[in-house]
Amino acid sequence: MSSLPANRLLDPDVIARAEMLGLKAREVVEGYMAGEHKSPFRGFAIEFAQHREYTHGDDVRHLDWKVLGRTDRAYIKQYEQDTNFIAHLYLDGSESMKYTSHTATKLEYGKMLAATLAYLILLQRDAVAVNIFDATVRETYQRTDNRSALLNILHTLAAYQPQAATDLAKVLHDMAGKIRRRGIVILISDLLDDEEQILSGLQHLRFAGHDVILFHVLDPAELEFPFRGTVEFIGLEYQPRIIARPAELRKTYLAEFEAYRNRLRDGCSKTKTHYVLANTGQPLAETLASYLAFRLHTSRR
């Protein structure tokens, strides 16, 4: 199966619209350098945050001398610290992502989405780590804030070929254990796995304090089930074949699928995870711009 070359993963139109919106951290993130995003750490920057009693070892330069003078108590002045964030991009590279009913497979769509987000993050001087997984993490590009690393990320994405079925929940639990600093976890997947397990994994990530964005990549055919006649469905992830007349099953299928998405949406809502439907039938620019705008709007302080 041919895949998109690295130089086509980035679409100028998508980039142009994404740049205008940017990707802000919704919540405090634990960066490793000063940046635009709120850090959980109190520093000594410009914006006052609170007082704290002086303890041994504190730099006496941060003593609030006015309070000491009035109350004879030693307090340290603390200020809000802005930091950069680390975005962990997790792209589902399982067999089911190979499906397409038109031109771009879900995987290709996911790769373009991941590439665009990586570009955007690096552009903001934030750090990004890219992982491609199925039942386990198959490809990893270590955290970097170096813009020149983008090309390597693109090559990593472009070179990947699916090879196994997915086990998303396991991967989510693993990543929750492995990612130490709170950051942004962007999961790009078709989520064709047990939704209870997926939601459990997401909750684990959220519990670890990560800002989780879930891009649910779906093909229009999966959303509309438009098939007619007699069709032999061959499972992409080694399920038994099914011969059916899909027109007669469409309503039931759509109901089942909608219920599944509703469960996912509700679960995400409960864990304050952003659930974004990425319909591969729609332009990526539209999907991404729409979400970034929404995010920008909801994360204003």
């Binding site: 067999e95 089911s96 992502m97 190979k98 499906y99 879900k106 078709d190 064709l192 093909d219 999966e222 098939f227 006649g229 007699t230 069709v231 032999e232 469905f233 061959i234 499972g235 992409l236 992830e237 399920q239 099914i242 011969i243 059916a244 007349r245 899909p246 027109a247 007669e248 099953l249 469409r250 309503k251 039931t252 299928y253 089942e256 699928f257 599944y260």
Partner: protein, 718 residues
């Protein structure tokens, strides 16, 4: 129930079509690699039962639809009461009308003939047929003449042809006609196959009675037979049952005796039956009457006529008209000759004429004074066996061999050809004969072989005599009348016992008193051979000096010539085949039929064809009794005649008995016309069977609609 197109029942195998289509569709399914299998599986699990039931319903509907279509195409037919269930309106019939046109149908009640009634009955039958029916019409007698061979829906045409149909002079014999008709109808499509036999109920027509009943009973299942009787019970009828040249040779300007046989077929005796005889449609040349003919018997009357010129003459006997005119006249054709040339082959020529083997024969042939002999019409030519190869047999009419030892194979072959052309041969063996030659070289033409001679001509006290009475053969029938003298007075001292050849068909003309054959004859080709067993002179017998010798010899000559004329007198329906000379080969011929009138001439045109190696005048359309005039376009034109004579048995108007009618009624519906109620209502009362294909077709159509509805409904997304 039975099927008119049973082969189409195999169409029911089409129920496999939906299954095959399903299997084919399985092979032709689109393949899609699919990721969201769990939702698809869940959908199927939810709908599986419903889909199975829907599939089964659709499959059942489609199979039923195909079965119904196959059934409808096979054209099922219900019988009897069940038949009326499917009979919304009368089912069209396939009918065959057999119209008896034998000459007994010419019997009239004074107003109209039986045939007139039969045509009306046939027209009423057409009226009774349901709309859309098809009908064939055959004229039947002892032969079938299909005037509408295959059923046509054009009933107007059938009506016209029935009105124009004509009687024949055939006898009637319905069994072969019924066999052919039922066989034809069985092979026709159609729910209602009906056979209408319109006849006069003459008993003669129903020969082989048990076979007829068997046939009708066997055909009952598929063919409904209706017998419409148009006859009456009046049997009275007088007919001329035979007319023949009874005596003398057909010579010009000699009085010829014709014998007409009159048969009284009725129950009442007939008195004073007047018969006239006319030649060539001239006014009657003779007439006579038979004073009394008892019921059911025949009597003959002799009438005389003279033929004024040589050539072919028609002789017609007529009776006064009665209720059956067709048999009140009978014609025969006679070929009159100016002179009769007889070649006498003398086996023992002698200077003393009396010692010659043909002395008595020559004188017997010309029984007139020497002065009158040149004018006498029989011209004997005497020759010897040595001169025989040079003799021209073409120039003679009859050859007489008398005590001839033998002759060459070439002569034997030419003699055989002479006979096959219609010549006559009389053989008188004698002491000079080579028995081996006669029994081997002439075996093909002689009716019997000559055994070792018996008797001794020297012993005058030991002899055989001829039978004194019970003469059957025309040559000797004259001596049944005691006034004609006797044959028994002749003494045969020595003779060759005759042993009939079984591979031929010899006829014994005359026997000895002990029953041994004395004279035999047989036909060879168109000619005939008469074989005596003793000499033609007084060497072995004294017959030549007996008074009966001359008439016997002349009658033998006459019979030999009549044989030649037999080809001129046919039975109705027989083909006419008459050999002509080579000069007539491929000449055009015109045959004027007896039914021809000056206003409406009826002629058949043809040519003289080569048949069996000889130019032969042939004419097959001889269905009417009477005289057929023939003209061959040669130079000068050859004009000749032949006659067709109706079979005399048909004149018996005896109807079927009541017991026979009752039996017939069990095998077929018997209707009396016109005394029964209107034929139309009688015919329509019965329903033989009704096709039920169209209710099945409608049901199939309805099923098709239901199937479409369900297919649409079931294929809607769930």
């Amino acid at each position: 129930m039975y099927f008119l197109n049973p082969l189409l029942l195999f169409g029911a195998a089409a129920i496999s079509v939906p299954i095959v289509i399903h299997l084919l569709n399985r092979r032709r399914t689109r393949r899609v690699e699919w990721a969201a299998m769990r939702f698809l599986r869940a959908s199927i699990e939810k709908n599986e039962r419903r889909l199975e039931i829907e599939d089964l319903i659709l499959l059942a509907l489609r199979c039923l639809l195909l079965i119904l279509l196959a059934l409808a195409l096979a054209r099922p037919t219900l019988r009897g009461a069940l038949g009326s269930l499917g009979n919304l309106g009368l089912t069209p019939s396939t009918a065959l009308i057999l119209l008896d046109n034998s000459y007994s149908m010419d019997a009239t009640d004074g107003v109209q003939s039986r045939f007139d009634k039969a045509r009306k009955a046939a027209e009423e039958t057409l009226d009774a047929l349901p709309s859309g029916s098809s009908v064939a019409v055959w004229l039947v007698s002892d032969a079938v003449r299909p005037i509408i061979p295959e059923p046509t829906r054009d009933l107007a045409l059938a009506r016209k042809i029935i009105r124009e149909s004509r009687l024949s002079d055939h006898a009637s014999n319905l069994l072969p006609c019924l066999q052919q008709a039922t066989g034809t109808l069985r092979n026709k499509a159609g729910a209602r196959k009906e056979l209408y036999v319109i006849t006069d109920g003459q008993a003669l027509a129903w020969q082989r009675w048990s076979d007829v009943l068997q046939l009708l009973n066997d055909a009952k299942q598929t063919v409904r037979t209706r017998i419409i009787l148009v006859g009456d019970t009046d049997e009275q009828n007088l007919s001329i049952s035979d007319l023949r040249l009874a005596g003398g040779l057909p010579s010009v300007n000699q009085p010829l005796r014709f014998e007409a046989q009159i048969t009284n077929h009725g129950h009442d005796d007939v008195r004073d039956a007047r018969v006239t005889l006319s030649v060539n449609n001239d006014p009657p040349s003779d007439e006579g009457s038979i004073e009394f003919i008892p019921a059911g018997t025949a009597k003959s009357i002799s009438l005389f006529a003279k033929l004024r010129a040589d050539g072919f003459h028609s002789v017609t006997a007529r009776l006064a008209d009665d209720r059956l005119p067709a048999d009140n006249r009978r014609s025969a054709v006679v070929h009159a000759m100016k002179e009769l040339r007889v070649l006498l082959v003398d086996g023992t020529p002698s200077r003393d004429a009396r010692e010659s083997a043909v002395f008595f024969l020559r004188h017997a042939l010309v029984p007139v004074s020497a002065a009158d002999a040149p004018q006498y019409f029989i011209k004997p030519i005497v020759t010897t066996p040595a001169e025989l190869p040079a003799a021209r047999l073409d120039g003679v009419d009859i050859v007489i061999l008398s005590n001839v030892f033998d002759f060459s194979p070439d002569v034997a072959a030419s003699l055989e050809q002479f006979l096959s052309r219609g010549g006559g041969l009389i053989v008188f063996p004698g002491p000079n004969c080579s028995r081996a030659f006669y029994n081997s070289k002439l075996a093909a033409i002689l009716p019997a072989q000559l055994d070792e001679p018996r008797g001794d001509p020297e012993k005058q006290d030991s002899f055989a005599t001829l039978q004194p009475k019970d003469y059957q053969h025309p040559i000797v029938a004259l001596w049944n009348d005691a006034a004609a003298g006797t044959l028994a007075s002749a003494h045969f001292y020595r003779y060759y016992p005759l042993q009939a050849r079984t591979n031929h068909s010899p006829v014994t003309v005359l026997r000895f008193a002990d029953g041994a054959p004395a004279v035999m004859e047989q036909s060879v080709g168109l000619g005939r051979v008469v074989l005596f067993n003793s000499t033609g002179n007084t060497a072995w017998n004294d017959f030549p000096v007996r008074p009966a010798f001359v008439p016997l010899l002349h009658r033998a000559l006459a019979v030999l010539l009549i044989r030649r004329d037999e080809a001129l007198n046919l039975k109705v329906g027989e083909p006419f085949n008459y050999r002509l000379g080579l000069e007539f080969a491929n000449k055009e011929t015109v045959v004027t039929l007896p039914t021809s009138t000056p206003e409406k001439p009826q002629r058949d045109y043809g040519r003289v064809e080569m048949f069996n190696g000889a130019p032969t005048l042939r004419h097959a359309n001889n269905d009417n009794a009477g005289v057929y005039d023939v003209e061959v376009a040669s130079d000068p034109p050859l004009r000749m005649r032949f006659a067709a004579q109706s079979p005399p048995a048909e004149s018996s108007l005896k109807p079927l008995s009541l017991a026979e009618l009752k039996q017939l009624g069990q095998a077929a519906q018997v209707l009396q016309y016109p005394t029964d109620a209107a034929l139309k209502s009688r015919v329509q009362q019965e329903t033989v069977g009704s096709e039920v294909w169209w209710p099945l077709a409608m049901l199939a159509l309805a099923l098709g609609a239901v199937e479409t509805f369900f297919a649409q409904r079931f294929s809607r997304s769930r």
